[in-house]
Amino acid sequence: MNISCKRASELLSEEQDRDLSFGEWAALKAHLAICSGCRAVSAQFKTLRRAVRELFQDKSSD
């Protein structure tokens, strides 16, 4: 079953916080295969996570 972009974006977010069920994972992968917009969002969510971690990094210490 194809899911909507809205649903795909929800799963892309939830994927960062919990393990998706097999059904969710499969539906998401199938959607990403045919949707460049959601592939872009997938990469952007990952960038976002790294960016927030950069915010309070102190390069001069540690």
């Binding site: 972009c5 974006s9 916080d17 872009a40 960038t47 927030v52 309070f56």
Partner: protein
Amino acid sequence: MNDFRTEVEALRPYLLRYASLQLRNREAAEDAVQETLLAALAAERSFEGRSNLRTWITGILKHKCVDALRRAGRESPLAGDDADSAATDFDALFDERGHWHELPKAWDDPDGALHQKQFLQVLESCLMKLPARTAQVFMLREHMGLDTVEICKQLGITATHCAVLMHRARMALRLCLDQNWFAR
């Protein structure tokens, strides 16, 4: 003042910025920082031998922030629940069939952006634009690194609600970065 005290005090602006981003309330942030500085000064001996003062104090501040959020959640559960206004903007991103109105495009050189101070400033201003509750949940997850089960428990919200807030935060931030950085 002895050296330790001077060094601890020098971290105040950094700690205030950190707490303000997490708590989204100036007064609460100042309280958390004050408690943190006092706790740090009282625990000087337990710091001895550790390498990084800032890392150590940030660890104390994290606990104070979580305490503050937990207290606020108890006093007014779901107060300032900013979901409604955000939901309206949010639904505008998709058509009635759940497809993008405007297809997102891949960001150009995100790795390069991460190393630029200006980019991180844009990110910080995007974070400040999030509704308070949404920002608190997002920052507990991404900034403090708590897992979502823990966040729900601390703030007294359901897992579903937590997931909704996380999704809204990420969508709002990607749009904000898209408009204010990558589309330039």
